[in-house]
Each structure stands twice: as C-alpha cells, then as structure tokens.
Assembly symmetry: C2
Homo-oligomer: 418 residues x 2
C-alpha cells in the first residue's frame, strides 16, 4: 500500500475512534488499562523475543550502547509498563468533569465540561515503553492515539501494541483507539505532521532534532519542550546550608534530564559563603565548571564561560556559573538565556521569593527546592506525557489534564436571548 | 523607515513592555483603564474629527454603507468604549492567582499560578472600538499588545491610541505596553505574522478571509474561529412550545452573528408538531428556508437544500432544515458539517441531554437554550476578545482567563530530590 493511502486510513480510523470514545465509560477505560497490564505480564516472553529481534538488528547496525540500553525491554521495564498502566487506571477520570456551573442573570446555567482533545499523535524514538505509557494516558483522557515509534524498536512496539489490543478487546473498545504505525518508512512521519484534518495535537518525545523537525514542519499544534536550561539563583538572603544542598542536588542527582540545573547564578555578596563549598561538591561529582570572570577569580580551576555557555543545555556533567549583582540581574539573566523550563530561587526573604515567583516566566518556578522536582510524578499528576515550555494550553509537566481541554456547557429551560 | 525595521522595533518594545507588566500592580492597571475611559470622554471631539477623516476617505474610496457604519465612532459607541474599559477595571485581576497549592509526600508544596501569555497581536478590520476593547482586556490580563487595525480606520485608531497612552501615563505604565501600528502598509501584517520571537499569540478579528490568511501564514499560535455553523436539534422529547421559542430566537434575533443558528435539525416524530409553526415564524421574519426532501414535503415553499448548504455559514436570513431519524443522526450531522462553535438540543429527556452534552464536540454545547447566548457577556466573563473553536487552550468565548495560562509553582525549604 502507498504510504499516503496507509496514513490516510490510519487518520480516518483514529478520528472515528475518537468519536466512539465520547461514549466510552470510565469503567471500560479502566478495564482496558488493567487488562493491558495483564496481557503485558502474560506475554513477557513474546515481548522479549520481539525486543531481541530489535536489539540484534540494532547491534548489526552498530547502534551505540546508550541507544541499545534505551531500546532494551528488561524485566524491570516490562514490570514498570504494567505498573504504570495500573496507576493510570487508578487516577480519577478527567473527562466530563463539570465545574463552575452557575446561574446567570438571564436564568441560564453556564459552566465548563472537561473534554478530550480528540486525536493525539505521538512521535518518539527508541524507548519502547513509551508505547504503553502514552497509549495509557491518552486512553484514560479519552483521546484516540496514533503512535509512531523509532524504526529500531518496531518489533517491540508491535508486540506491545498487540497487548494493548488484547486489553481494549477485553473492555469491548475498538482497537482503532490505539494505532501503532506499522512501517519503518520515514515518509510516514512526514505524512503524520500534515494530517491536521485528523490529528488535533502532536507530542514529540526524544532528542532536540526530532522535536525541532516536528515543530517546524507540522501543521498541527505541538506540545513540546526544546531545551531545559534550568537555573538555580542563590540570593543574598539564602541560608547557605540549604543553598548548597539544593544547588548540589539540582546538578548532580542526574546529569542527563531536562530539569537538571545548567547554570548557577550566585548573588555577589553571598558568593564567598557558598561557592567554594559548592565547587568542592561539584568536583567530587566530576562536574566541569565554567564561570564568569568573578567565578574564575574564586575558583581558579574553572574554565572561562563563553556567551554560548549561558544558552547551552549540557545534559552532561558540566555547569556554568555566574556571579550576579542582585535579584534583578538574576531575573534578567534567566529571561535572556533561559528556556522557560524550571528555575528556582534560594532565599529566606519573602519579598524576593514573591518577586521571583511573579516575574520569572517559566513553566515551573520554585523557591528553596531543587529543579529536579519538575516532574509529573513529583507534582502529583500521576504520570506525564512530557513537559511543555509553551505558553498556550499546558505549561510544565503534562498529565491527564493537559491532554484535555474545557468546553462551555449551558443549561436552560427554553431560554431565549432578548 | 523600512517596514521590517519598524516592526522589529515594535516587537522588541512589546517584549520589553511585557516584562515590565510582570511587576505592575492591579491598582496601576485599573488606574490606567479608568484614566483611559476619562481620556476618551474628554476627547470626544478629537476622536470625532479623526473619525470624520476616516469616514470621508472611506466615502471617497466608495466603501459600502455596511462598512462605513462599522467604521463610524458614534456618540453611543464612544460612550460604550469608555464604559467597557471601566467594566474591565471592575473585573477581578486574573494575574498571579494561586490555586491548588498542596503538599506532596516529598514535603514540597505544588500549585498553579495564573500568568499572562506575554505579547498579544491583534489584527482587526474596520471597527475602531476594538482598539480600546482589546487593549483594555490585554492590559488587565498583564499582556503587552500590538494592535493592527484596518487601514480605513487609521486616524480613529491613532486617536484612541493617544487616549490609551494618556491613561497609561496617569498610572505610570510605559506606553509601549499598548502599541498601535501607525502605517497602512499591508506588509506590516506579513511581518507581524512571522514575529514569533516577540509575539506569543495572534488574535484575528474580522471576516473569514482575514482569519484564514492569519491562520495559514502565521508562525505564531492563533486564537480564532473561522465559521459559526451552529445547530439547534429538536428532539422527539422536546416540549414543542420551548422548541419553537428557542429555534425562532436562535435564528431571528440577529442574522449576522457567529452564534446564530444556520441549520435546524428536527427529529422526524416531532416534525409535524413544530415545523409548520416554526416555518410561519421564519417566513414572518423574512427567512428563506432550504430543506431536505422531507422538510420540503412539509413546507412546499422551501427550496431543496444542497450538500453545500449544510456546510455554509449564511450570516443572513437563510436557514437550512433537515429532518433526522434520531439523536444519533443529529449528532452525526453536527460532527460532519458543524464548525465546533455552538450547538443546542431541545429535549425534556435527561438521558438525551446528557448524551448531547458529552458527545457533541463544540466549544459551547447547550440544552434548551438559544445558541445566541454563546457570548462572553452572557457567560459572565465580563468581556470577550473573541470566540475560539480550537481545541487547545481556550474553547468558546475568550475573556481574561483565555488571555492567561497557568505555570507551576513549587515552594520548599531546602528540599532536594532523592
């Protein structure tokens, strides 16, 4: 079949399936999620065989170890997929929630009803567990899903798809609700990016080049974050102990995550009380330090930072450090070089905390807490499909609520407008 | 000055102004709104002179009467602009509202803070009062605004801009917060559509061709509705009296508005009880009727409707009518031909009302109420900047809340992630 014909068919089926989901009950959706978890555990060996095929092909193609690791469906990851689906089943159903229903002077009642977005396209790379996680979140939020995983994970993704279809079947929900693109033809992605007549939103998950391609070429709205250039600002009124703990944790707890601090800003008056001790911690963790001239004066082993450093997401054991005059200079730096992801101030001063919260325009703004907390599970969303640094719709970790929107409902009794 | 240089300057100023607005107080914004209202009333004669220039130029250019009417700043419209600004001042400030702040097991508190979108571009046609209305809503919601009105209203818009700048000055807010493009060069719109580095959202207001151009060419997210193909469905279980009142009002109260019914759907079993009487009402109001074969059998004067009729927003005294088998057929019709704007069911049956509310995917879904209620004032939003039929972000009438979004805030006391 020609790829355009195939994708057109996928899109049409997804749109039709999203209509069916408007009358699918919470119980049916939860049954499907639990039954999928069962099917995944019952079919561990099948999943492993499929994954072995992908891994073997990957090794033949010479994929690097990091990629092969992401691709591997270990026992623990298979269990985690099943557990994740059961957790999503346990979350409250956001769909149909009616809020703010109030009487207006005309006599009508006006309120909001939470509703699915419709059809969600997910484009992702090597991790096959995304197939189950994303399908589960989209199903619970009442959306039909078109999943396009990496070609290196095609057998694993198809095997997971089979488990999802078993689960949907148990609940009597048509399989078209979750479709996994069954071709490695790269043209399929190009088609998907332009299927605005069928797809309401696209969520790219993976490296920056994938996300850039999707946002540049898509005719469909995209929920995404490109960069996570996160800052910790240590204010003059910080408690040094807390500052050191938080700034250490924000960088060294994990290096490769989007909510890891990439630039540390330190107010000049507190610098001698925190920077040398922090630098010791970073050195112990093997973090390379790049600093402004003042930083380098304090830390002779620091490399001079360039303009580019301030705008770089290292995703690695590298940290840029800048000494700033005051809160205004810190906010200026964050607004100039940041990526609107997650930024935190360390201070005991209520007025400065209040200003930082109001004036820093990021999807997560924190006081006295590590940037590493910016995460759907930590925030209590139950699960997340990604993090958005866009300003419209959902900002920050996107869970079930971000996969829905609200329409107006009006109840009357023959009311007319005069 | 070259147009690209001018627009670049406008964009940079707007971005800088939006930063200033993050620390502007509610009182300052309200002072500016009231002072602008005062300035508009104090400068009625100046506004009228400017408007006369536009009207004279319009007459010379041979603009039609409808356009000249929209262009005219009558005494009543000038008063309405001032009143509207005072009403916006009286609304609660949405910016900075913190909600859902709860403790998580880790000890951090996580909640939402409502924040401005940043810089909003408004592209509109002849009505000069949009300049004051849009500027007022954007200011109250903490957004900087770039306004691009129709070239035929350039003098009126500049005069209103002067009043706004007087008002901003009284409050000590820089004038760059509200910028009105001071050229009639059409290239300015093209520039604005691609200023994604400065502008966070575009709102086109006007005819369909303007809105189509903006959504097709813009690299910036757009809040819009293209069509208002609104339906009233009279269910078998409707109370005929209520059905007739609502279906009459939805069509005849005003013909040219986007929330006017364009297609009437009638369940076949109730057709004899409502259709002949309704047809009398429509005939009295001068409405041309176009119907499906069954409708034409009941109403011999109805013109046979074509496939195109079901997908047409007439904005005129024309109504298409279709007799349908049941609720499913009605929902099918709405989902196939509708524009996701506003649709209503007339029924006394709770189960059908419940299904209609859940299954019709429109920005406003109603029971036993006229589609004409779909309006920011009627909904209690205080004012509206437009109506959105998109699925992301805001659906339906967009007021102050739709001009903002929510970021996450996290409060800790030196908390780190383990």
């Amino acid at each position: 079949m020609k790829i355009e014909v195939y994708m057109e068919d996928v899109g049409r089926r997804a749109r039709a399936a999203s209509r069916i989901l408007t009358s699918t009950t919470t119980r049916e959706k939860n049954t499907a999620l639990s039954a999928t978890a069962d099917a995944i555990l019952d079919n561990r060996s099948t999943l492993q065989e499929a994954n072995e095929k992908d891994l073997a092909a990957g090794r033949d193609k010479g994929l690097d170890d990091a990629l092969l690791d992401r691709l591997a469906l270990t026992e623990a990851r298979t269990q985690a997929m099943a557990d994740g689906l059961r957790e999503i089943a346990a979350l409250p159903d956001p769909v149909g929630e009616i809020t703010d229903l109030t009487y207006r002077p005309s006599g009508i009642q006006v309120g909001y009803m939470r509703v699915p977005l419709g059809v969600i396209g997910i484009i992702y790379e090597s991790r096959p567990n995304v197939t189950a996680d994303a399908a589960g979140l989209c199903l619970k939020s009442g959306n039909a899903t078109i999943l396009r995983g990496g070609s290196e994970a095609i057998h694993s993704n198809q095997a997971i798809r089979d488990c999802i279809h078993v689960g949907l079947g148990v609940a009597g929900i048509p399989g078209d609700v979750v479709q996994v693109i069954n071709t490695t033809d790269r043209a399929a992605v190009g088609e998907l990016l332009r299927m605005d007549r069928y797809v309401d939103i696209l969520i790219p998950r993976g490296g920056k080049s994938l996300i850039e391609r999707v946002s540049n070429e898509s005719t469909i709205p995209v929920i995404k974050h490109l960069d996570g250039i996160c800052h910790v600002y240590i204010d003059d009124w910080a408690e040094p102990e807390k500052a050191i703990e938080v700034a250490d944790n924000a960088k060294t707890q994990r290096f490769g995550t989007c909510n890891t601090m990439e630039t540390l800003l330190v107010s000049s008056s507190i610098t001698p009380d925190v920077l040398p001790q922090l630098a010791d911690r970073y050195r112990q963790a093997g973090v390379e330090l790049r600093g402004c001239p003042e930083t380098c004066a304090y830390l002779p082993d620091a490399i001079p930072a360039t303009e580019e450093d301030w705008a770089t997401e290292y995703l690695a054991p590298i940290l840029s450090i800048r000494v700033v005059d005051d809160l205004d200079a810190a906010i200026d730096h964050i607004e100039t070089y940041g990526s609107h992801h997650t930024d935190t101030i360390i201070t005991e001063d209520m007025g400065r905390a209040r200003r930082f919260l109001a004036e820093v325009d990021s999807s997560s703004v924190m006081v006295n807490a590590s940037t590493r907390f910016a995460d759907g599970f930590e925030y209590g969303l139950g699960a997340e499909i990604g993090i958005s640094t866009d300003k419209l719709h959902a900002r920050g970790p996107v869970g079930l609520e971000g996969l829905t929107s609200r329409k107006f409902i009006v109840l009357g009794d023959g009311h007319i407008r005069r």
